[in-house]
Symmetry: C5
Subunit: 254 residues, 5 copies
């Protein structure tokens, strides 16, 4: 679970909530029609903009991004070095028993190809294609959240315009002006808050996670190829070490 995201969202919304509670009634900030326009409008536009499949997969990506931690590159290196040891000692087929312990589908698929004895060029090519797809999904996800970050304030303004137009037609009763305008502004508030506290930051998060995952997958591809070529455990380790952060890397090299 990504503590930064959870904490950031919690503290951010708390700051807003405190500002609301310190003065006036929180119910002043609830407005169903406004929420319908701001959120309903933005998400509907998203389904015109992107294929429905991509929209759903982007939300799945955010979930995995926040609640699942990527394995540490050094853990992954240790695992691959271990597998190289098994393969050296007991042969490639012995890897099959280990497959059950591996819950990462990418690594799993790679190892299966090694066990099936596919040539290493073939293995690398297929995994690279799969990696490209993962990268593209991340890019589409980032674009989608950037798009939400742009359209939420716009639909917020649309909702406020609706409220203002309705309020201006009822000016006869001056006691309603304030409340009417307040309700109209709530929609802009929804759009601006959701865009700036949720969707634009998530677009950044997805971009960063995409880079991290790409690095990890490339490490895995190199490790799997090393297994397919029958590298010794030490050779596997020294082949994968450059993927580590130099800070972590230098002490290892000493």
């Amino acid at each position: 679970m990504d503590a930064g995201t959870i904490l950031g969202a919690f503290v951010g919304f708390s700051c807003v909530a405190i500002a609301i509670f310190m003065h006036g009634k929180p119910t002043d900030f609830l407005d169903l029609p406004g929420a319908l326009v701001a959120f309903g409008g933005s998400f509907s536009a998203l389904f015109i903009f992107f294929p429905a499949r991509s929209v759903l997969s982007a939300f799945g990506m955010v979930k995995s991004c926040v609640f699942e931690k990527l394995p540490d590159p050094s853990t992954e290196i240790r695992r691959l070095t271990e597998l190289a040891l098994v393969a050296r000692r007991d042969g490639l087929l012995a890897l099959e028993e280990r497959l059950a312990e591996i819950h990462d589908p990418f690594l799993d698929r790679g190892l299966e190809m090694v066990i099936d004895g596919l040539p290493r060029e073939k293995i690398e090519e297929r995994l690279q294609i799969e990696l490209q797809c993962i990268e593209e999904r991340h890019a589409v996800g980032k674009k989608m959240f950037d798009q939400l970050g742009a359209s939420l304030p716009a639909f917020g303004m649309v909702g406020t315009l609706i409220g203002l137009i309705q309020m201006l037609h009822e000016l006869d009763d001056p006691s309603n002006i304030g409340a009417g305008m307040a309700v109209a502004l709530v929609t802009t508030f929804y759009g601006a808050l959701a865009a700036n506290l949720v969707f634009l930051p998530l677009a950044g998060k997805l971009e960063h996670r995409g880079k991290e995952e790409t690095l990890l997958r490339e490490l895995m591809i190199q490790g799997i190829v090393a297994l397919a070529e029958g590298d010794a455990p030490r050779a596997v380790e020294s082949r994968l070490k450059p993927f580590l952060d130099p800070k972590t890397h230098l002490p290892l090299a000493a």
Copy 2:
């Protein structure tokens, strides 16, 4: 028919309609001069910006994008493999009878060149040029809808300025202020809604469709070239498989 687009537009407009109907009269949101300025202005500007021919073709593209489904790549592979079988068994000329069943003009033109016995370099070159034109049309279409998405809010504001200026000259009668300002704001509402719920999302849709069609056309070019070279049906199939999504692709490869 693209369900996402239809549904997205339907739900989006419903959200806005509900917000309007829940409070006040819907007729408050009708304003003919405002619509004239917002839509008339934006579309007029479009005809200065782009050649008239491109504007019309862009709207045709949107229609085909929403109401016509692109054939599935795997269906197309099956069709081309079948044609390869026919060509192998009964000769290239036997393809002629099949032409009537093919309603895609691009594939049709390609097959005719194969039947006419044109050299494969010539066939590939001509189809590539045609594909470039298709891609450019998609790019111009996307640019046009992005342009509308930028000029609609601008003309909405122009309309609102007109309404405000007129209203401000009639301040003597204070009972008109509210209604005058409401009418003025309707134009901004039109511009913002049309841009964010229709034209900007359609620009995204066209971009995505363009990528999809390019992939499909490249698959077709490879298939047609394979036919021209007299490939066996199996060879055609394995040549076209890499165009499939790896998700679909991997089980096929097993």
Copy 3:
């Protein structure tokens, strides 16, 4: 004459005019000091931004863009094929008599170099340099109109600020507030309308015209080089055909 531009501008301004005439007096939309600030300011800034020579040439480009039609590529191919026939039959010097009929200075200059017997590399190089200059002028023209499209709304706002500040100092007489504010807003209206209905679309038009002219000039360069190399008329024709739109091209090839 480019019908799209003329019609677009006419319909666009009519929409705005109708909205103005349907309600209130059109004189409410006339404000000399406002026009001074919006247009005087924007155009003055343009002369700081770009060299005076470029500014004037850009307006000349728009004029030629709207009132002069580029010759059709197929007409140009026919003309060059004809000239090739003349050169073949009567020798290069016979082309001299035809020069009087050619009103295009670019083609004219090219043919003169052919008649003078310059080597083809020299001819091509000089025409390419001239083409580069034409392209750069179009790019500067587009940038200038984009710049006007950005500074007109800004100066419109400057004018409105001036009007508001003046009006706010005369609040003692409340009957003037409305009219004062209306006059102030007219400048914003000028800036927004001129930018969105005239200058931004013209920037797009110049860009498109630039692409079209580049294509035509490249066709001419190929044709002139073919003449210099003494190609047969048929060879000239088949050399220039790929410059045609594939739609027009394919029937020709049949």
Copy 4:
């Protein structure tokens, strides 16, 4: 002196001044605290953004840009051809007497290296490095004025917010509202006017001047290298001619 810049600024400010004088008192547009916030704030931010040295050099560049004319390329070609004649007739050392007449430090430094007999690769390399620095300075200058063009309206708004907040706390005396708000708006007026009439156009001017100077310096480098190689005057001239505008160039070539 660059007439376009001087005239542009003069006409632009005159338009604004006329609009101000035609109605109301010009003193309404003076506000010291507002000027402090808009200009003081923007220029202070500039010293955080860029190193102090770059800020000062950028203003020097604008001065030289407006008040010093770059020598004409054809004048420069004539001068270099003349120097080649001197070098041919009286030897490289005879150039030394001419140095006093040359007030351009770049050309001066180049000629000194020629007289000192440095190898031409060395001369070219050093002058290219110096040219790169000149180009980078122009790029930083442009960026700085673009930055001012963005931060001036922002600080204008900050000043207006200060004025509005102060005015809103004194609402008890309604006769002050108008004047208070007018004063508040003056800061926005300062920011918008300075950005759009001065700094953004100057950013464009610097960019254009940078391109022009680069071309001139490259011409000089070629000329100096030609001198170092002992080219004949005619050879120097024909080597430098391609740097001329083709319009000027073509008649020369005839």
Copy 5:
């Protein structure tokens, strides 16, 4: 300590403070809930956008950027030339005694590798990787401050919306309108001031510092490699001189 940054910030805030003190009470500009929304919101969003580690490191970079001066390239050249003299005279191991005087960890690590006798390719490769990490950290830092510069005004607006909505629900007591609106506007003031006077300029500062540090580190890498290759002090000096500003460089070369 970077005088420009300190002075820029001091003068900038003074200008704003003077404008505030010249008229009205400074306490009108204090608003705790507003500060919570503007700053709390923006910084919370930052922790969703970027990994927590990067956020903290970016603030450390700003501190070092403002309070620590980078060594002068010419000082660094002198130091490396001196070390080359020591290495020549007393052998590489004699460098070990000098390590204590060197407080730069990058140079330190490089020299240690030289003393350990690592091959120069290895040394260069490792230092280049470390340099890449430094550059990336600077790029992330710049992006982070640009992000703050965009989200602070947005959260300022969110805070103002909260204040406006609360104030509009209490319109019954007209004497509160002014103060309520003033308080609401304070948040926008916070966001705009912090973004334009602090965070956007700091983004520029980080970018510039990043370039400077990259140059210095590359100079160090070259110097360390020269040491590893056993270059003579003079050779080290002439190898590093091109890293100097040509202005400083040219007199040295004379």
